[in-house]
């Protein structure tokens, strides 16, 4: 059982860091590009060195690509280099803010919230929401494949998109949600305040404190420099 990876950060701290990076990044991008650049670069290095490297590598290229695209559009619309950089930095801030969230296992977040006696409707909702993206991705892949096997044409055709793609997708999602709701209820889940146990307690570690401190240093440092 020891092979299961742990979340890179204490879940609630991860969310707090995400929110802080997003807000601080957006504010500084609007006011001072240099400050924002230093802050985001610092945060990215902190993440790289403190166990978030996989998420960092997954996020950075798409974030840079989107930032470059919108920056270029802004520049070409004649609003100047600084404005273009400011727009680009906002997208990079969003990308970097996502990194801690990507490094949290949904079950750790749920257990963290359960231990803090957060209402179960919220914890289960979060668990399902966090698992929804990979589920949707897998369902879309299966349906696209099934379309091929039934010899339907291109998805660009609206009629085909509606009939062969959207209908099976909606039906699958409805079926999954119905069965899942039934399954969790029969497995003892209730919205009412029954006591639940936490199989593996999620506790803050020294490393979590260090991450929070380093992010704060990045923010203060960026402001000072």
């Amino acid at each position: 059982m020891s092979n299961i990876k742990k979340s890179a950060v204490y879940p609630l701290l991860g969310i707090a860091v995400s929110v802080f990076v997003l807000i601080f990044g957006l504010i500084t991008a609007a006011k001072d590009n240099r400050c924002c650049c230093i802050f985001l670069a610092g945060v990215f290095i902190v993440f790289l060195l403190t166990g978030f490297h996989r998420a960092c590598l997954r996020v950075i290229l798409p974030a840079l690509a989107v930032a470059a695209l919108f920056g270029l559009i802004t520049y070409l619309s004649g609003r100047g280099f600084d404005k273009a950089l400011s727009i680009g930095l906002r997208f990079i801030a969003i990308g970097i803010a996502v990194i801690p969230g990507m490094s949290i296992r949904p079950v750790d977040l749920t257990r963290n919230l359960n231990a803090l006696k957060v209402p179960r409707g919220i914890t289960l909702g979060m668990l399902i929401a966090l698992n929804f993206t990979p589920l949707l991705k897998a369902e879309i892949k299966q349906i696209r494949e099934a379309m091929k096997t039934r010899g339907t044409g291109s998805i660009i055709n609206l009629k085909i998109l509606y009939r062969a793609f959207l209908i099976p997708l909606v039906m699958r999602l409805v079926n999954i949600s119905d069965t899942l709701a039934l399954s969790v209820e029969t497995r003892g889940f209730t919205l009412e305040g029954n006591d639940v146990s936490v199989y593996k307690k999620v506790s803050p570690r020294i490393k979590d404190g260090a991450v929070a401190a380093l992010i704060a240093v990045c923010a203060v440092g960026a402001l000072i420099i």
């Binding site: 698992n131 897998a138 349906i143 899942l180 639940v196």
Partner: protein, 476 residues
């Protein structure tokens, strides 16, 4: 034996205007016993499950009369959560029920809800993983269909309710896992548990069941002569096809390997499949059968080696086209993905070889009275038959069938086997089937490959299949 759950004079219909699915039915399950509830599709087996565990009327409304008791207490006005503290339920469609990312967390989910201590949860995960041959650290998204079924069963076994109800728990399980599950359930029954199994694969359950009941015409009957009943539902279906092997190669599989996320699923597999062959792929859950079908259909590309096809000579290496999928029909494990037209008729007519051929499929598969129904409104068994009919309507030269018989009652199974063989005889198609059902397996093959750890461990003819499923021993 003490009664665990009972239906007394129960009548139920899903609406005011719909017919009664149960009509003054009496039924009980006892502690210390395994009860098998058998019956044809649509007779109300799952309704009985829903009534006992409180899904009806708590979540599914309907018109209900009579009394239902669980552990000697009436379930009237009791919420589902209260009933489910006493009744553990394994539902159909395991795929849609998994909520966590690892096997360990999925099993822990129910235990946490029931407020078990972390120490006992750890012990229960270990026990249920051992009972269902699962590895706690496995990622749930990488499990095969049968492994997902095992996981959902393990999750229910871990929550330790004394009354267990399982709805088609063997549907996607391989032979040895099915036997293992039945042995586990038998030992639980011997330790005082009440076990109710709703299952079409009666051949695997009958020997372990203490009582067999059949549901028919709204009533539940206890079978007196269980031996005679088992024989009527477990007979090996005779092969009605002829060997259509033309001697020409359809697929030449040369040292093929396939990996996902560095996990090797198919390893250096080589084989030749001739045109007109009927091939059966056998092996345990997760051994790579479905992956091999997908490689043949070109839905996956080999990470090493190659598959040379002689079905469509104009097709470029590794490519697919509309014409390819017209020639190579793929029937998925889950029919929901392949059904999208508004009626059964239009579904079968879509991409059909001709209108006349589509009509023939509608008649052969018994859809004449259902042709204006929406495909998604059909039962699971009917949907599966429809997906096969729709694929067959394009008259493919190769037919790839991934567990086509799941959810079929014995008559449906016999009928489907006969139809597949009749079409094979008629068209000379190459048929490659994955099934764990020993009743139809010998009738669907001329040749079989046993897949173990991603490669062909052994191959042989019908005798080999009979030997693998233990039919030879039964005959002796």
């Amino acid at each position: 034996m003490k009664t665990a759950a009972e239906l007394k004079n129960v009548s139920f219909s899903y609406g005011e205007d719909t017919g009664k699915i149960l009509d003054n039915a009496d039924f009980r399950i006892n502690y210390g016993e395994i009860t098998l509830l058998s019956g044809d599709s649509g007779q109300g087996k799952s309704t009985v499950l829903s009534l006992i565990c409180g899904i009806i009327p708590n979540l599914t409304p309907g018109v209900l009369d009579g009394e239902i008791t669980v552990d000697s207490e009436s379930t009237k006005d009791k919420p589902l959560r209260e009933i489910c503290r006493k009744v553990g339920v394994v539902l159909q469609n395991a795929d849609s029920q998994i909520i966590q990312q690892t096997v360990e967390d999925e099993i822990a989910f129910g235990c946490e809800n029931f407020n078990f201590s972390p120490e006992s949860i750890k012990e229960l995960i270990k026990e249920s993983c051992e009972a269902m041959s699962l590895s706690p650290e496995r990622q749930t998204r990488t499990l095969s269909g049968g492994q997902k079924q095992r996981l959902i069963t393990a999750s229910t076994l871990a929550t330790r309710q004394k009354i267990l109800i399982l709805d088609e728990p063997l549907a996607n399980l391989d032979f040895s896992s099915s036997v293992q599950l039945m042995k586990t359930l038998k030992s639980l029954a011997e330790n005082g548990y009440a076990v109710l199994i709703i299952e079409h694969r009666t051949d695997l359950v009958a020997d372990y069941a203490d009582r067999i009941c059949e549901i028919s015409g709204g009533k539940v009957y206890e079978i007196e002569n269980t031996k005679e009943f088992s024989q009527s539902k477990t007979g090996i279906i005779p092969d009605t096809a002829e060997n259509m092997n033309s001697g020409e190669t359809a697929f030449s599989i040369k040292s093929v390997s396939f990996s996902i996320n560095k996990k090797e699923i198919i390893k250096d597999l080589s084989a030749d499949i001739s045109k007109g062959d009927r091939i059966l792929l056998m092996g345990e859950n997760g051994c790579g059968k479905t992956t091999l079908l997908r490689l043949l259909a070109r839905l996956y590309k080999p990470t090493d080696g190659e598959i040379i096809q002689s079905i469509l000579s104009s097709l470029k290496k590794g490519k697919t086209s509309k014409e390819w999928f017209r020639s190579v029909g793929v029937v998925y494990q889950n029919p929901d993905y392949q059904l999208f037209m508004p009626t059964v008729r239009t579904e079968i007519e879509y991409n059909a070889f001709s209108k006349e051929y589509a009509d023939k499929m509608i008649e052969l598969f018994g859809f004449s009275s259902l042709e204006s129904r929406h495909p998604q409104s059909l039962s699971e068994g009917q949907k599966r038959r429809l997906s096969i009919a729709a694929v067959l309507a394009s008259k493919p030269r190769v037919l790839l069938l991934d567990e086509p018989t799941v959810g079929q009652d014995y008559n449906g199974l016999k009928k489907m086997t006969d139809i597949l063989n009749a079409i094979h005889k008629d068209t000379g198609n190459t048929m490659i089937t994955v099934t764990h059902d020993k009743r139809c397996a010998p009738a669907l093959c001329d040749k079989a490959f046993l897949i173990e750890n991603g490669t062909i461990a052994k191959s042989g003819g019908k005798e080999f299949v009979e030997q693998y499923f233990g039919i030879t021993e039964e005959k002796q």
